[in-house]
Symmetry: D2
């Protein structure tokens, strides 16, 4: 970490600062220039509050040289992490094709969709049981009963399942869930992250709507710092001024995260775009960008003709997406 | 709510949609134009999933006419809500001057600051006990012991206290806290909001870093829908591309929220700007914009000369801010 | 266009509004509901100032049903526009592989790069002669002399050329340029757009750093309204809070623009990311997302080893990108 | 400027870089640490392309210590600039109350408004003659004839006038205009800025919709680098995800700009919010934040009852705003 001091900083002020930094077990390397003085801070700077340092009157600017995350950092763990769920692997060339309905609605629905997506190449089943909704009046999911139905579908198809947790007090219900999802709105629910770090479950961690990639990795670090290293990062769109899509899918995130971290990265084009017609092109784009997997909503509700056109694909549409994704993977391999 | 159907929608498709909407207990008023057909949805549309409706192939666009929040809505509750904490009132002309240190550090510190800010006109004491930190390696606050010290300061000064909750499992520790704060990162932790709705405590609800004002009101609605109507909204800056300040304080939020809702609105210039020198002008601006209160960080640490210049004001600086704020209030009254 | 009037609007106010709208040659269809009154405006609403309408006290909300752009609108021009430059076509399955250096520096440089990228499959040569720079002290390009060198490279290779205009007073220098580029910072330089609309040159129009896709199409409309329909739209990244990349490449823009408009869409991954290592994955992703072309910076400067690693690819790297792009095009065809 | 080199950079690579930097007339101070090497670049770094430097493979990070703007920089010009227009001064305690209609419409209109706002304390008259409009089909202003009418109003009232230029080819029409405005969309129309730098006219430079404050100052620098130092900066709202207001007024900009630069800063609450009811509170807030002036739309059109409620204030509303603004100025003086 480098701190640049302002012109006019007195020796006494600088001594104060240096002694304070040394109290944090940092070595301080001082380089006095004509106009500015540069302090190089050496040691474990992940504990230094960069905002506090920046806010000091004598400090012109502060710049981290090393990232504040350690366990998630590729520098200290050069080989790709491979998350394993039974026979399914994610990362380092292993691809997760996660598909299923937005919400679990009935046994018939979830089993039918599960069988369809499995036949088309999905290797993990998704389905919402606890649903975070902006409005308290909206449907909040089938909750525990929804997880039961997912487990039925798992039994019927052999597909491992992923579903979202909103509250650590419900953890017991997730005992047989294969991957626990942390939603965008909980990406910085630090207490939830710490508790999930104490489990041995793989965690699918979604990027918050307005979080930087470094913050996503710091949230992964919260989980890892408690001992759980089985983390799958998920890009799902960020909030911008553009209104033509629900969110703006940031596909550069895939490469940036691969450069910074060893953790696998999957992309959710369904939530990001909010429109079924945009899901296939964004699924192809995410694959071409090097994603380690996709998370795609698929429904199967012949009784509800209305739902055609929603952000979910039909099993037939998913089948085509799945096959083209496979061919794109071959091109970029 | 108005839904505009695309040109070329068949009668059968429209019938399907209308029958689905009627199942949700809505009346549907159909207006056929030359190019488009407009459906007016009448009834309780707060339960309608606008995103689902928008995503239907036959739907060109959907527009809410009435807001999705009800209990927080000024239309149904024209008079200002006044939140009462002992002798202190907030809203409708009553002003909350909330001041105190970022984090509670020691009994001496918190009592000294509390006495100083009280002498300068503060009527509520703030202080962080549970600290949400981006890094798991950063200081996470004194937790329960911090709340104990706040209660000591309350006893010494008579000031009611506000402090942040991060996890509903710690609620017991807040039994004597006067106002419970929900931080920006938990604004959409819906399970936490629901549980706080079951308490009788006033809640200070901070706007998320990238949340719209309507979303802030929907989060207030979560709390209110469980029976707790004592809510103070707090603007604390949003995330933009600008890097000269930590966040961009959105002062238009004050008037917009006052127009949409009857709840009081306070502003936190300390977190928004991250720099002490920007706190006074933004405190004056927030007051002039019509805020019902301010939340300002004040420290008192003569032993740590380093801290001068951080985002906290000294008691002396706060004293001047407090007096000018009072004079600006008189101008805009 | 639909305008929803507030509850409590008087008949006299509404009559005023309706007569004002009729003065703009619009038919007004009035639908009175229990709580709101809806006005359907029929006719050429592209001339209606939606902001003014929204700002009226009696108006609750206004919503466009038809887009404000006409000539760029796919609804009125369902078939893809194909821009033709000599033998090169762009759009509707024809792919533009545009490559070349950021800035033209010397005859040797531009001809060498042009020959290299042509050999790798590029069909259009790019090179900056007029350079928009944030700082007045930065190199502003070779200007007219740079265009001369591009024309030399065109003669040597047969590749058509594209280069940026910053000021209509320099139009004469572009007489033999094949495609004139309008940069992101000039996307809403409306006087420049109008003048370019009077030429017969194909225009490559880049999206502004914080412009919506509708605004991009309105800027295309400015050019088209003067008679020039040869427009290529270009996505080059938007500004967000993320700092890991220079801008956030919005690849959903490709499909959204294809849905709204008949104009071809190319993507510039070099400027968006600002880092050579991110260019190949984003070039693949853009292709998989359905782009009609790519615009990639390639340099060839063996004397300046420093430049390795900048946002430009080497000819060797470009060769690999070009071939994989071709294979991805086959997969999504 | 500081450049941090990556671990593993070879001596040969570093020598290359250092020699390249020295060619730009910079001194390079090398500080080798255990893990990183830091280069301190001393000299005129305003010509260094920071993006190019950052993009080099061997470079971990680059940080400017000194700002890239010089003539606009308070460090080199500690005293406030006071812009003088006849008897009117702006900056360093002198306040500009700029008021007038959005667009000039008729002689009667502009003179009536001018007399009204003068009576209420305005000291500069605004009015749009050339109007930048998103749509080519919208009214583009009265152009030259509008400037003639502004000059009539100036003659009638003695108020100096400010109006927007969109195209340098119209400069002759501005011969008697007192202040030339550069609109948000032209903030980075660098050729226009350079030409305005060659005039002796005061320039009111509006911040672009998605530009940083540093970029605003760099655009001021473009004008100043050609010899014109009479610049008034204007904050008018930035684009964010919030939809309740047209833009988000960034009032921290006032203090940040005052810290970085000696140029006066005015605020335009009318365009930022787009709603008359938000103009008074934001005008008060801007004043309390320390602005050197306000720019407020005022109309006077008794024949058009429709316009009540638009973003413009009536003369009566403006009168109240003007008086309260004066009182707030006294509080913060």
């Amino acid at each position: 970490m480098i701190a640049v001091l302002k012109e006019g900083t007195t020796q006494a002020q600088m001594d104060h600062l240096v002694s304070w930094l040394k109290h944090m077990n940092l070595d301080v390397h001082i380089s006095k220039g004509a106009e500015v003085t540069i302090l190089g801070l050496i040691g474990d700077t992940s504990r230094v509050d960069i905002d506090l340092l920046k806010s000091l009157d004598m400090v012109e600017t502060v710049k981290r040289v090393s990232e504040p995350f350690k366990q998630a950092n590729r520098k200290f763990h050069p080989r790709d992490t491979i998350v394993e769920i039974g026979n399914v692997r994610i990362g380092s060339g292993y691809f997760a094709m996660i598909a299923g309905p937005c919400s679990v609605e009935s046994e018939e629905q979830i089993i039918e969709v599960a069988m369809a997506v499995k036949a088309s190449g999905a290797n993990i089943l998704r389905g919402g049981a606890f649903k975070p909704r902006t409005s308290p009046y909206a449907f909040q999911g089938m909750k525990g009963a929804g997880i039961e139905l997912l487990l039925e579908a798992k039994k019927a198809t052999g597909l491992p399942i992923v579903t979202e947790i909103m509250n650590i007090s419900t953890l017991d219900l997730f005992a047989d869930v294969d991957i626990i999802q942390v939603g965008a709105r909980n990406m910085q629910n630090f207490d939830l992250l710490k508790e999930l770090g104490k489990t041995k479950k793989p965690i699918l961690l979604k990027r918050g709507l307005a979080n930087t990639l470094q913050e996503l990795l710091m949230s992964a670090e919260y989980i890892m710092s408690e001992g759980n290293e089985q983390i799958i990062l998920c890009e799902r769109g960020i909030r911008t001024f553009e209104t033509a899509t629900r969110n703006t899918l940031d596909l550069s995130a895939v490469s940036v995260l691969h450069n910074l971290s060893h953790l696998p990265v999957v992309v959710d084009p369904s939530h990001a775009t909010g429109k079924a017609s945009l899901v296939p092109p964004m699924a192809y784009a995410a694959t071409a960008a090097g994603a380690d997997g996709l998370m795609i909503e698929v429904h199967n509700n012949p009784a509800c003709a209305l739902c055609d056109g929603a952000q979910s694909l039909t099993p037939h549409q998913f089948d085509e997406v799945s096959h083209r994704v496979q061919r794109i993977r071959e091109v970029i391999a």
